[in-house]
């Protein structure tokens, strides 16, 4: 990398840069050599940054008008919707923004799974990503509680009650979390405080995530190490900036559609009923992005083991770099892994679907099979596959397949462009 050679042209710039090398950083970010064959699945990193900033900006504005009190929260949200200038717009962006954030993060994670981006030397980027994802879930869950509707209240009750499954100290922990003997005003105020805090923790972790990314550089659809800078790379600016910008605009069109034309479709009608501790909703369901884990939780008959299964389902991802024994990163050259990958995608979608259905009869059976398969994929299939699978030959550089190094690579190259 050319970072260390960089020297600002002006005298003032040099003086400043010697004391605080911000200009060197800016130069590094613009010149950052990026593989030129990145497809559109790689644009979701930028999209996620946009989502985070949008949530923080709209969230700050909402916090100026919202009142975190059990008797006034619901009313203050209606005040935002009715009387605050463009309050409806800000709130709908924030509420749908959470869904968009998760949509993007799921695509980002599954892109990583397909192209093996979590493998050496990118394990730390991946683990930071998992921590960000966990914090996102915490932030989203607490944010959903703030409007103090029926689903807020009962969702909070169900999820916090999970901690009571911990032997001996469980009940004590739940009382401590609630700040009382049921979900009430103390719970709401602490959830608001944490909901305000977590996005900034995420922001810090995102900086680390990008920093860790800039050490080895981006993975790419071929999944090989490339020389940087070289014929295989382009500078981040303007090539990747404009491509990310284009993808972001497409994403924003979808986002805008939800905000302006279907702002409540991803929420639950019950959350427009003010929280009432005396009336339990017929079905308590979390937001769509938590449904797969909710299905795993409910598929285990024992409460404690259910909680353990749900947490393991997320934490198992953190050790994924060591569970996947294959040396080849990209699924493009792993014919068997590619099939199992799509089965996993289907499995997670099925889990999401049964998570929204009542946990009984056929749904429960499907949830159990899908949960078992989820763990089977990570604990058995992936480790074994690394030894058994016959992978396709991998090209030596990104440009090689174009120049016609070998017939297989032309096929691989063809495949990539189709994925775009």
């Amino acid at each position: 990398m050319s970072d260390h050679d960089y020297r600002p042209k002006s005298k003032v710039g040099q003086w400043f840069n010697d004391r605080l090398p911000l200009l060197t950083l800016a130069n590094h970010l613009t010149d950052y050599p990026t593989p030129k064959n990145l497809n559109y699945w790689w644009t979701f990193g930028g999209i996620l940054t946009f989502c985070l900033i949008t949530q923080i900006v709209t969230g700050l504005t909402l916090a100026m008008h919202y009142i975190a009190h059990a008797d006034m929260a619901f009313e203050s949200v209606e005040h935002i919707m009715r009387d605050v200038n463009y309050g409806w717009l800000i709130r709908y962006i924030h509420a749908n923004g959470a869904s968009m954030f998760f949509l993007a993060v799921y695509i980002h994670i599954f892109r990583s799974l397909f192209y093996g981006s979590y493998k050496s030397p990118r394990e730390i980027i991946w683990i930071l990503g998992i921590i960000i994802y966990l914090l996102m879930m915490a932030a989203a869950f607490m944010g959903y509680v703030l409007p103090w509707g029926q689903m807020s209240f009962w969702g909070a009750t169900v999820i916090t009650n999970l901690f009571s499954a911990i032997p001996l100290v469980g009940e004590g922990i739940v009382t401590w979390l609630w700040g009382g003997y049921s979900v009430d005003n103390p719970t709401l105020t602490r959830f608001f405080t944490l909901h305000y805090l977590i996005p900034f923790l995420i922001l810090g972790l995102v900086v680390l995530h990008i920093w860790a990314l800039h050490v080895p550089g981006n993975n790419n659809p071929v999944g090989i190490d490339i020389k940087k800078p070289s014929k295989d790379t382009v500078p981040f600016h303007p090539y990747i900036v404009i491509k990310d910008g284009f993808a972001l605009l497409m994403f924003m069109i979808v986002f805008a559609f939800f905000v302006f034309y279907a702002p409540n479709i991803l929420g639950h009608a019950d959350n427009y009923i003010e929280a009432n501790p005396m009336v339990t909703p017929a079905h308590i369901v979390p937001e769509w992005y938590l449904l797969p884990f909710y299905a795993i939780l409910r598929s285990v008959p024992d409460k404690l083991l259910g909680v353990v299964a749900m947490l393991s389902a997320i934490l198992i991802l953190a050790v994924l770099p060591w569970l996947d024994t294959s040396k080849i990163r990209s699924a493009v050259f792993r014919p068997l892994y590619k099939q199992f990958y799509w089965i996993l995608v289907a499995d997670v979608l099925i889990l999401g679907y049964v998570g929204a259905m009542p946990a009984e009869g056929l749904y429960l059976l499907i949830a159990r099979v899908a949960t078992a398969y989820y763990f089977l994929h990570f604990l058995v299939i992936l480790p074994v596959l690394g030894f058994k699978e016959k992978t396709l030959p991998v090209p030596l550089s990104i440009t090689e397949p174009v120049l016609g190094g070998s017939p297989n690579l032309a096929a691989a190259r063809n495949k990539e462009s189709k994925i775009e």
């Binding site: 030129k36 009715r82 717009l89 404009i242 559609f257 905000v259 302006f260 034309y261 994925i419």
Partner: protein, 259 residues
């Protein structure tokens, strides 16, 4: 592309099976052409004004609407009564205010800035007057029910004789669209119950449509502004996307790689 196709077919399958299972357990709601649906959907002003009349003459005796103020009736995007009309409406209600300098509460005619007057002092009083059932606040009722406007519209017209195998307690009525079919509210509407000022025939169907339109507005008072801004925003984004697409093509033409 093939994989994408696979993914989409799975999603479509799931959505299709989902809607199928929902359709199987629920009755089909009555449909009508709502003027506020769609990209350019707007409220039918006359219908909103008639809907307000139905609300205030029929529903308001039991159902509160605590998040609305009388000023909302004159605001753009709503029933758009003239300010004088809205003032007259507000003044027709007695509002408890105070305490005055003697420490006494007093009543005065309503003002534009007042919230809609509540039919009962508190939830307990409402329950006591309605056989233990609390008539829900109507401000956001449309958004608080799964079927939305279609559900409310159907429910108002869904009263029937109970089938012989269903036994009803005193003060409970049969409604084919209600969850569980049992409802504490007696059929609120009957033909000619209100007399519309504009001469519209006040059938149950007409009143249901008008009052449901009014409830949609009360739940989403900025719906028209949202639709208008949404259209502009999306057109703007599409144009910008196209421009950025061509810029991107131009920039990437310098490298031997496709975007």
């Amino acid at each position: 592309m093939k994989n994408l196709f696979k993914l989409f077919s799975i999603i479509i399958l799931i959505i299709a099976s989902n809607s199928y299972s929902v359709a199987a357990e629920k009755v089909e709601y009555l449909k009508t052409d709502w003027s506020f649906k769609g990209l350019f959907g707007k409220f039918d002003r006359a219908s909103l004004q008639r809907g307000y009349q139905v609300y205030t003459e029929v529903c308001a005796s039991c159902h509160s609407m605590k998040y609305l103020s009388y000023r909302n009736l004159a605001e753009p995007g709503g029933p758009e009564f003239s300010e004088a009309q809205a003032k007259a409406i507000a003044a027709s209600f007695e509002v408890t205010d105070g305490p005055n300098s003697d420490g006494e509460m007093f009543t005065r005619p309503g003002k534009l800035s007042d919230k809609f007057v509540m039919p009962y002092d508190n939830v307990k009083a409402a329950q006591a007057a309605n056989g233990g059932a609390y008539p829900p606040d109507m401000s956001v009722l449309v958004k608080a029910r799964g079927g939305g406007v279609d559900y409310i519209y159907s429910l108002l017209q869904g009263y029937e004789e109970a089938p012989s195998n269903v036994s009803l307690d005193d003060g409970v009525y049969y409604n084919k669209y209600m969850y569980g079919n049992k409802i504490r509210m007696s059929a609120p509407l009957s033909d000619g119950l209100v007399e519309y000022g504009d001469g519209t025939n006040a059938t149950v169907e007409q009143m249901s449509k008008d009052v449901t339109t009014f409830l949609m507005w009360s739940a989403e008072p900025h719906l028209e502004a949202r639709h208008q801004m949404g259209f502009k925003a999306i057109v703007y984004l599409i144009i910008l996307t196209i421009l950025v697409y061509f810029s991107m093509k131009k920039i990437w033409s310098r490298v031997e790689s496709e975007v």
